[in-house]
Amino acid sequence: MSGKSTSFIDNLGKVYAYYTGGFVTFTIVLAILEQMGVPNKIIGYAFIFLTIGVYALIGVLSRTAEVSEYYVAGRVVPAFYNGMATGADWMSAASFIGMAGTLYMLGYDGLAFVLGWTGGYVLVAILLAPYLRKFGQFTVPDFLGARYGGNVARTMGVIVLITASFAYVVAQIFGVGIIASRFLGISFELAVFVGLAGILVCSMLGGMRAVTWTQVAQYIILITAYLIPVVWMSVKLTGIPIPQLMYGQALAKITALEPALGIAKGHVAAFSNAKGQFDMLAAVNFFLLIGCLMIGTASLPHILMRYFTTPSVKQARQSVGWSLFFIFLLYFTAPSYAAFAKLEVYQNVVGLGIDQLPQWVKAWGQVGLVGACDAANAAESFAMCKGVVGNADGVLQLAEFKIHPDAIVLATPEIAGLPYVVAGLVAAGGLAAALSTADGLLLAIANALSHDVYYRMIDPKADTKKRLIASRVLLICVAIVAAYVASLKPSTILSMVAWAFSIAASGLFPALVMGVWWKRTTNVGAVAGMIVGFGVCLYYLITTQFYGAPLWFGIKNISCGAFGIPAAFLVTYVVSLMTPAPSQEMQDFIDSIRVPKGDVVLADASQGIDK
C-alpha cells in the first residue's frame, strides 16, 4: 500500500468533516442566492452538477492500478466508514423516495419493508460477514468456488448474482433519470445517460476503492437531505424538532379523523382487510415478506462484498453494526414522513373547496404527482385524475384526492413551507441514494464477469493489467446495457426489483450459510440446492406474474422465497447426505475460516488469489 493512502486513512475523520462543512456552506450560499432572486432552475442545476462533480473528483483521486485495491479497496476500510458506505450502497432510490410513500399508502402493512430491510443485517453479522472476511478473496462466487469444488458452483453463483442484481441496477438508473430530468428540465432519455456518466466516472478508475469513498460522501448527503424537511415539518406541526418521536401525535390525530372520512382500515391497524377486520392472509403475507427481505439482505452480493473490505474479521462484525445504525437513521424516520403527510392531507386538503387548495397541491399537480379530481374535466389539469370520476360539488372529498407515492418525500419541503433550496437538497439526496446503489450493483456484476468468469474460467494466466482492463471494459458494457434498458422505461422491470431479494435468498443463502455452518455440505448438494431454490422461485414468479397461474396458498409472488428458500435448504441437506462427505482438506478449509486468526487453508490451491 502506498504512503499516500495510509495518511488518507489516518485522516478520514478530518477529510469527511471538511467535506460536510463544505457541503453545508454550499447549501447556505445557495439559500442566500435564492433569497436574492436566483431562479430555481439554476439552484437545481447547481445541486446536481456540483454533487456529481464531487463524486467524480473522489473517483479520479481514488484511481488505482492494483488488483486488490480495485476489488476490495485494499482491505483498509475502517468499520465505521464501511458502515456508512454500506448504508449508501443499501439505500436506493426506492428507500429514499419510495419507502415513505409506501407507508403512506399501506399504513402498518408497509412496515414489513422497514423491518425486512433492517433485520437481515443480524443474519449478515452472525452467519456470514466474519467468515467471508476471513476467507478473504474478492467476490461471493469466489467463496462458492473454493467451498464447492470449482467452476460449476461458481457459475451458478454468477447466474444468481446477475439475475438478482441486473433488474435492481436498471431501477436505480431509472431513478437517476427521473430525478435528473425533473430538476434539470431535460428529457428522461438524456437524463439517464447523464446519470450513467456520473456512475461510471465514480467506479471505473478506482473500482471498489473509489466506490467506497464516494459512497461515504453520498451517505452524508442523503441522510442530511432526508432529515431536514421532516424535522422542519415536525417543528411546524408539533413545535419539537424530533419527528421520530413526535409523529405519535400525528398518528393519534389520523386515527381520530379516520371514521369521519369513512376509512375502515386504519393507518396503524395491523393485518386488517378493507373492512377493518382481522385478515389471516394479510398477516401471513406480512411475515413471509419480512422473512424473504431479511434473508435476501443476507444474500445480496453487492452488500456481502462490502465486508471483504475491512482490515480484520473483528472489524467486519462491528461494521455490520455500523451499517445497520446508519440505515436505521433513515428507516426509523420514514414512517414520520408518511404520518405527517397524511395528517396534512386529512386536515388541510380534504374537505376544502377546490379554489382554496394549498399551493403545493397545484404545484405537484402540474408535475403529475398529485390530483384534485372533483371537476368532471379534472383529468385535463391533473394527470393523476385519469379514470377518477369526481362529484363536481366544488369540494374535495377524500376519494377525489390522488397522490403518487413519490410525492410524499418530494413535496414535503413545500408542504412544510421551506424554500426551494431544500427541494434541491432533496433532489441531491435522492440522486446520491440512486447513484451509490447503482455503483455498488454495477461493480458486483462487473466483478462477477471480469474476476469470476474471465479470470477464473477463461484466462487464469491473465496479468494484472489485462485483468483490470477487462474489468473496466465489462463495467462500461454492463452500465450501457442497463442504461439502455432503463431508457425504454420498462414497467415490468421496476416491479421485478422487489423480486431480487427472493431470488438472491433462494439461490445463494442456503449454499453460503451451510457452507460455513455445516461441514457435511457437499459440492453436489450445494449446487443442487442452488439450482432448485433459484428454479422454484423463478418458476413461481414467472408463472404467476406473466401466465396468470394461481397463487399457492394466496402467497404473493414477491415472497417466492417462502418456497425457494426451504426447498433449497432441504435439497442441499438431502443430497449432501446421499453423496460422500467432503474430503479432509475441505474440512480443514472450513475449520480455518471459522477462526479469525491464522491462515486460510484452501482445499484446492488453484482457487487461491495472488495477494
Binding site: Y108, L111, A125, L245, A252, V268, G598
Partner: protein
Amino acid sequence: MSNQPLTPERAQEYWKRTSGLMWLMLGIWFVTSFVIHFFAPTLNTISFIGFPLGFYMAAQGSLIIFVVAIFWFASKQNQIDEEFGVADE
C-alpha cells in the same frame, strides 16, 4: 497444519461457544422480527410514548433491538476470540 492457532480440542470448544452465541442471536432475531409482531393488534391497544405499541415496535422498537444486538454480539464474540487467543487484531 502448521500455522493454525488452536489444538483440536480447543478448536472444538471455541466453535461450541461461537455456535452457542450464534443460536442465541438467531433466537433474539426471530423473536424481534416475528414473534412480537404476531401480537401487533393486541399491542396496538396499549399506548407507548404516544404511539400504539404494536405500530411502534414494527416502526422503531425492533430496529433499535437489531442495532443494539449486533453491537452486543460483536463485542461478545470478540471476548470469546480473545479468551481463546484467536482474535485477529
